[in-house]
């Protein structure tokens, strides 16, 4: 018995040591120089900080020009006929029903199907996503005319499959591999994130905001980089807490509302009053925490989460970074049906409203002119938003 106790004690001691080691490693990974960025970066060198006069001029110009929202003209295609065609789609991990990225792709596909009347097949990969390639191949073997992969993880595998099926057109969301028969649909997430960062900086009362990333992958780092840049553009002294829920290859961070909520709660306790998430399904925990806290804000991502999250939690959703995956998917299908089967990358950035911010709820109404000013400065290249943190 005593021996057992001793071994138990040893086990606990060892566990404690491992715990400390693990915690130390974790810290290293999480502090990707965002909190420290305020101290080390001289405002003058910061590419995000713009001359106030330039900003004022831009704001004035935008107001004069009125809203220059160009109609994307997606409805013009209603007379195109896609009947007899077959479009296949392979989702990323999480699949249909994730209320986020995959669902946006599904929405684009469904809308296009309603307008053009083609046949649709959509597939979900296994939990680990290992069979993405096999699913693409399955659709290719069934002679689908257009095959869409949803997610950056398809970048290489779709190029490989597409090489074997030169007569089929492929499309991939969030990646742009070079091939004659692959349409790459990529987004300037950093530009949209810049604008919600600016909105957060204009709204914060504690001069302290937060960012929660789902998984610390290069794609999600684009969101962080843009957000940090936008915050600092307004006020370089605002403190930013930045955390990722998991590290790759663990992709659980995109679907862990409990952890999302815990992190949000610690950020709010730490003094942040606005938290932006790019964490897919984990964002649900953030919204819940923000709502429970009452006097703090959350910022949504990808779709207009003020509309998708619903009442009453959306009372605390300040704005959302819009990433128009559905528009991109719709557009790619429309192009294909109208005869454009060639590959090539399309960047959905601010200039074509591929990304943006939401004003739903009316919480940032007063800042819209300023945000539009920033937007025009990004479009004309005055501000170059970095796409990696700490650069």
């Amino acid at each position: 018995m005593r021996k057992n106790l001793k071994s138990l004690r040893l086990l606990f001691a060892l566990l404690a040591v491992f715990g400390l080691v693990a915690a130390a490693c974790g810290d290293d990974g999480e502090d990707t120089g965002t909190g420290d960025g305020t101290e080390t970066t001289e405002p003058a060198d910061d590419p995000c900080v713009v001359d106030q006069d330039a900003l004022d001029a831009a704001i004035a110009a935008v107001e004069e020009g009125g809203t220059d929202d160009t109609d994307e003209g997606t409805d013009d295609g209603a007379d195109l006929d896609g009947s007899g065609m077959r479009v296949g789609m392979v989702y990323d991990i999480g699949g249909k029903g994730d209320q986020s990225f995959n669902d946006a792709a599904f929405e684009g596909l469904t809308r296009a199907q309603e307008d053009f009347g083609f046949e649709v097949e959509d597939l979900e990969p296994s939990a680990g996503g290992e069979n993405r390639g096999e699913l693409l191949q399955l659709l290719a073997d069934e002679d689908y005319d257009l095959i869409i992969g949803v997610g950056f993880a398809f970048e290489e595998i779709i190029a490989e499959v597409a090489g074997n099926y030169p007569d089929i057109t492929f499309a991939v969301v969030d990646a742009a591999p070079e091939a004659d028969n692959i349409k790459g649909l990529v987004f300037a997430e950093e530009e949209g994130s810049f604008l919600v960062g600016a909105a957060a900086a204009l709204t914060t009362e504690t001069d302290h905001v937060g960012f929660i990333g789902g998984v610390e992958s290069p794609l999600i780092q684009k969101f962080e980089a843009g957000f940090v840049c936008g915050v600092h553009a307004v006020n370089p002294d605002i403190e930013i807490d930045s955390t990722y829920i998991t590290q790759p290859p663990d992709f659980a961070g995109f679907n862990d509302p409990a952890r999302g909520g815990e992190i949000a709660s610690s950020m709010y306790e730490d003094g942040a009053d606005i938290v932006y998430h790019a964490a897919g399904g984990s964002g649900g925990g953030l919204f819940e925490t923000a709502y429970d806290n009452g006097d703090v804000w959350a910022i949504g991502v990808d779709s207009d989460q003020y509309l998708t999250v619903g009442e009453p939690q959306n009372e605390r959703i300040l704005t959302s970074m819009l990433k128009e995956v559905d528009v991109a998917v719709y557009g790619a299908i429309e192009d294909f049906i109208s005869g454009d089967t060639a590959g090539g990358a399309t960047v959905f950035d601010l200039s074509i409203d591929g990304v943006g911010y939401s004003t739903e709820g009316g919480f940032i109404e007063e800042h819209v002119p300023t945000l539009e000013g920033y937007k025009s400065l990004i479009i004309d290249g005055t501000i170059e938003v970095p796409d990696t943190p700490g650069s």
Binding site: L10, L15, A22, C25, G26
Partner: protein
């Protein structure tokens, strides 16, 4: 003899029948005809490409199940195979890409790295087990968690690709040609079967078969194997017979960890993009436990179990095309494993009572007196 063979086959067959029956219930609940679902699985799953894919899927499962089965032979439960193979794979891929050696040597070096890391990862639980009596289940589970953390750290830090082919996918450097494993496509073509472009029969199949043979010889044809099995059956009897239990525990666990280190290599060396990245397959370690149970720790049984799992996973892909929920296959796999365990237990008890009656008859005692 015939009766014995019938008994051996009865259990797995019974299990599969039960699994099909239970899955049928769920399919009917989902308003799908079971016959249609099984029919399309069977016809898609027996296409040439599907059979090739079935073998490819079975390879890592087979190796994983062997790693688990080595431990099972002496009553040790290495539940840490998952952690062992992942960390072994990331280190083997990262270091392997930095080496430049001629072909076979390069592959050999990667094998050695993987085996050593797999063993190193089980060293702590093994030493804790023999020195302090810490249960290997607890220790290896804990080591899993640590492995996942360190693997993530290695992937994002020290072993991250220097010459990145892709800006978005996090991975190690690509292994050079010399480190890659040849395919067995010539074998498939030699059989007159045509595959679609992009399909390859993984050359690692040879490694899996060799490991299976080695496992058989080691466990049933060597002194060490005898010691392992003896300790597994009755530890105190083995000890009295002069077997050093600690040494056997250590050797068995190291063997298990070493084999576990090889699980990920079929993916790394045999399939594009030849590196450890965020798409690296997970869960082989846990699925391997189910396969080892299914195969009753016998190399042939495990092979059948691994192929069955490979077949089910591959053939389930067609179900989505027919609007049938493919999750049914996960239910099937679970039910098969549970029913196999139960079926074997039933068969074991049946045999035991038969033996007892035989003994009773032989000693010419009435059953009442014999049990009293």
């Amino acid at each position: 003899m015939m009766r014995r063979i019938a008994l051996v086959l009865a259990a797995p067959m019974l299990a599969i029948v039960i699994a099909l029956a239970v899955s049928s219930v769920f399919l009917l609940l989902a308003d799908v005809s079971p016959a249609e679902a099984y029919g399309s699985m069977l016809s898609y799953g027996t296409e040439a490409d599907s059979l090739v894919s079935m073998f490819n899927r079975a390879i890592p499962l087979y190796i994983s199940a062997l790693a688990v089965a080595v431990g099972f032979q002496m009553g040790l439960f290495n539940i840490g195979v998952e952690g062992q193979y992942r960390i072994a794979a990331v280190v083997a891929a990262g270091l392997g890409a930095k080496l430049s050696l001629p072909g076979p040597l390069h592959v050999g070096a990667i094998f050695v790295i993987a085996v050593v890391i797999g063993m190193a990862w089980i060293a702590i639980p093994a030493i804790l087990k023999v020195t302090r009596g810490v249960h290997e289940v607890i220790a290896t589970i804990m080591m899993n968690a640590i492995s996942f953390g360190i693997t993530a750290w290695l992937l994002g830090g020290p072993l991250k690709a220097t010459s990145s082919g892709s800006s978005l996918i996090l991975g190690t450097d690509q292994l050079p040609e010399s480190a890659r494993f040849p395919t067995l496509n010539w074998l498939v073509e030699g059989l007159g079967v045509e595959m679609r472009p992009g399909s390859n029969l993984d050359g690692f199949l040879v490694v899996a078969v060799l490991l299976g043979v080695a496992y058989y010889v080691l466990v049933w044809r060597t002194r060490f194997g005898y010691e392992v099995r003896a300790s597994g059956h009755n530890r105190s009897a083995a000890e009295v017979a002069g077997i050093n239990p600690k040494a056997v525990v250590l050797k068995t666990l190291f063997l298990s960890g070493g084999v576990a280190g090889l699980i990920g290599l079929s993916y790394l060396l045999g399939s594009s993009p030849y590196r450890y990245d965020t798409g690296f397959p997970q869960q082989y370690g846990f699925t391997g436990i189910a396969v080892a149970l299914l195969g009753r720790n016998h190399p042939i049984g495990i092979a059948i179990g691994a192929l069955l799992f490979g077949f089910m996973e591959r053939s389930s892909q067609i179900l989505d095309l027919d609007d049938i929920p493919k999750e049914i296959v996960v239910i099937m796999q679970g039910v098969i494993v549970i029913s196999v365990v139960i079926a074997y237990e039933l068969v074991r008890r049946y045999r035991q009572t038969q033996q007892e009656t035989a003994v009773t008859k032989a000693t010419d005692l009435s059953p009442h007196e014999a049990t009293a």
